[in-house]
């Protein structure tokens, strides 16, 4: 009932007159809508190709989506605070390279590898955080700059070498399954999603990210340290990108100087499909998970339907467009809002 009351309090005047039934409210939650879409895509593909339903294939799809899930999780924190982090892919690649070389040449085990990946991510996330939170550069420019720097750094760190021999004790996590169709690596990812969801939903820090993203001025007047919150979101984004790098190693058992260069925009796409708005103040951790899985499932279904791989980016593009059109209709109440939207973007 509290949900219903909150929705009513937050909605605009014309919506106060009409209270939709509970199931309709449920449909407004993006992660549930996306989960339904996943079920539909899986069911349709399984009907056309029985192999799609095979446990090996499902496990492959889920393991494939783990890296993007990590990136999208971090991106969600940033985007809820009305920022954007274009450098997550590069941070992910750097973490994969640094950790990969330690594993390959020094026989590092999994737990230290995860810690090292997280540390690498935090260090590079701090770069973004300082530029946005302390120097107050616009996030899109700051992270565009760090994207250039970090992807150049990837090249410098690899120095022409690449990671290609990861021991099977680590890569097994990506290929083995616990239950039919559920890979181990997904189970290792779920705690991170749950903790993120808890932080976002139930902690003061999480709520202040939403507040800052919805209206930075109001949050400032309410006594929230706006710049401190923004600073933290970029560090968290770096942290998840670093973890994503380790997941990338586990899943692909290799890394090179171009790892993750193309994943920045895919991560943003997954977060947007999962219901996180670029205009801030909306979204969540489960949305990031659902968005990444949906993206991977749809792309796999496309190749099952004999659509050439060439069209995979177009698939991502169309999905983003659909998600965004759905968003602006459901939240803005029509196209009349464009001047206001731009003004708010300007305030970012």
């Amino acid at each position: 009932m509290t949900t219903a009351r909150n929705v009513k309090a937050a909605s605009s005047a014309w919506r106060d007159l009409y209270m939709p039934p509970r199931w309709a409210l449920l449909l407004r939650r993006r992660e549930i809508l996306v989960t339904a879409a996943i079920v539909i895509v899986v069911a349709a593909s399984a009907a056309a190709h029985p192999y799609f339903w095979a446990s090996g294939n499902l496990a492959f799809i889920l393991a494939d989506s783990v890296v993007i899930t990590f990136l999208a999780l971090g991106e969600s924190f940033v985007m809820i605070g009305r920022g954007v982090d274009l450098s997550v892919g590069a941070i992910m690649g750097l973490s994969a390279i640094v950790v990969g070389f330690r594993i390959q040449n020094h026989g590092m085990t999994l737990l230290p590898a995860v810690l090292l990946g997280a540390a690498v991510g935090i260090v590079f996330g701090l770069g973004n955080a300082v530029l946005v939170g302390v120097v107050r550069l616009p996030p899109i420019i700051a992270t565009l700059g760090t994207l250039s720097v970090y992807s150049g750094l990837e090249f410098v760190v690899t120095n022409g070498n690449q990671v290609d021999t990861i021991p099977s004790s680590i890569t097994n996590l990506g290929s083995h399954t616990v239950l039919p169709g559920i890979p181990v690596i997904l189970l290792l990812t779920l705690p991170f999603v749950l903790v993120s969801a808890w932080v976002l939903r139930y902690t003061t820090f999480g709520r202040s990210i939403y507040a800052v993203g919805d209206d930075a001025e109001a949050a400032y007047r309410a006594g929230i340290g706006v710049q401190r919150v923004l600073f933290s979101t970029y560090v968290i984004s770096g942290l998840f990108a670093g973890l994503g790098g380790v997941a990338f190693l586990v899943y692909t058992s290799g890394a090179s100087s171009t790892t993750g260069i193309n994943d920045n925009l895919t991560a943003i796409a997954a977060a947007i499909i999962g219901g996180t708005a670029l205009t801030g103040g909306a979204g969540g951790a489960f949305g990031a998970l659902a968005g990444s899985v949906f993206l991977t499932v749809t792309l796999t279904a496309m190749s099952f339907a004999h659509v050439s791989d060439v069209w995979q980016p177009a698939g991502v593009g169309v999905l983003v467009l659909l998600a965004v059109v759905y968003d602006s209709r459901s939240r803005a109440g029509g196209p009349r809002r464009s001047p206001k939207r731009q003004r708010r973007r300007g305030a970012r």
Partner: protein, 347 residues
């Protein structure tokens, strides 16, 4: 907001002067360190044809950024234009037909972006993010397994030829730059774009056709992408489907380094042109010195961040001093309680 929307004429632009000084310093440095760079004076001119396509893209982007929007799809759009031009040439079409077809297709995608942004009202970052993916797919699909290469000399002349040692690509870039400067400064469309970027609400209330102007600016950006794509195909004498995609970041960097405010309404196209030369010579000089293209990307990123940090810190201090002075003036005029006027509290 204490700054004016339109650039004040008759004053020396500080940022532009900084850029000019940086270019001069850079040219002197590379001339002294690497022998091939100057190349008897004409070498420096010849180098410009390598970054002319980036410059054309940056001009299109600068106009879009002036309205407070962004076009992430222009790099992919240039790739598509290059691929279309290459395919038409490979099928036996004349160079003129190839150029027209390429620019027409990229203009169409620019128009598509513009219509979605202006009439559906979706944030341009998202729209062009999506169209970037879609256009990339189309370009890869059109190019096929073996992208076209080896065009007639009449076509490659656009990218490689020169008139009296001045590369044709540079001439095209300068002509377009002049056209853009004139459009932004002296036409009603240019004024509309600036005002839309500076304050969309004010633009709406003063009766400016916001939707038409936005559609126009995205279409123009599409045209620029097409020109950049043709220049690329002509310069490299081939049409790889990712030929223009890598130019997106340098083009945005040039526009931002050229002083365009990412929130719109502020910036000079002339300074963007200077930034194109600064970045272009920087990367070409480093390439000649033997650095890899990725470490150049890194240096470009560092230059962008460094320049912006300096600029932002400088402007913030300036604004704070101005606000403080205004406050002192006001308190002198009306003896009210001190501190009644809130200082700059943008959180």
């Amino acid at each position: 907001m204490t700054t004016l929307a339109l650039p004040r004429r008759g004053r020396v632009p500080v940022w532009g002067t900084c850029l000019v000084l940086a270019i001069i310093a850079e040219l002197i440095y590379f001339t002294l360190t690497t022998r091939q760079f100057a190349g008897h004076g004409t070498g420096m001119l010849q180098l410009t044809e390598q970054f002319a396509p980036t410059g054309v893209l940056a001009l299109g982007l600068a106009m879009v950024i002036l309205t407070g929007n962004i076009d992430l799809s222009c790099g992919a759009n240039a790739s598509l234009a290059a691929v279309i031009a290459g395919t038409v040439l490979a099928k036996g079409g004349s160079p003129a037909l190839a150029i027209v077809a390429a620019i027409a297709v990229s203009t169409l995608f620019g128009l598509f972006n513009g219509i979605i942004v202006a009439f559906v009202g979706i944030d341009s970052l998202l729209v062009t993010l999506a169209t970037q993916f879609i256009v990339t797919s189309i370009a890869t699909s059109v190019a096929g397994a073996s992208p076209p290469f080896g065009f007639s000399s009449a076509f490659t002349l656009i990218g490689q030829g020169s008139v009296n040692d001045v590369p044709i690509a540079l001439l095209i870039f300068l002509v377009i730059a002049l056209a853009v400067i004139l459009t932004i400064s002296f036409t009603s469309l240019g004024r509309s774009l600036t005002l839309i970027g500076y304050n969309p609400r004010a633009a709406l209330y003063s009766g400016i056709a916001i939707r038409g102007s936005l559609t126009a600016v995205f279409t123009l950006c599409g045209v620029m992408s097409g020109v950049a794509g043709v220049l690329l195909a002509a310069y490299y004498n081939s049409a790889q489907p990712d030929i223009g995609t890598d130019l997106l970041l340098p083009a945005i960097t040039a526009a931002i380094l050229g002083g365009m405010d990412i929130f719109g309404g502020k910036g000079r196209i002339g300074e963007v042109v200077l930034a194109v030369f600064l970045l272009g010579y920087l990367s070409q000089g480093m390439l000649i010195e033997g650095d890899s293209s990725l470490s150049i990307t890194m240096i470009t990123g560092l230059v962008l961040i460094g320049a912006l940090v300096i600029k932002v810190v400088f402007e913030r201090n300036f604004r704070q001093r101005l606000t403080a002075r205004m406050q002192r003036l006001r308190t002198m005029r009306s003896p009210g309680p001190p501190g009644s006027i809130s200082p700059d509290a943008d959180g």
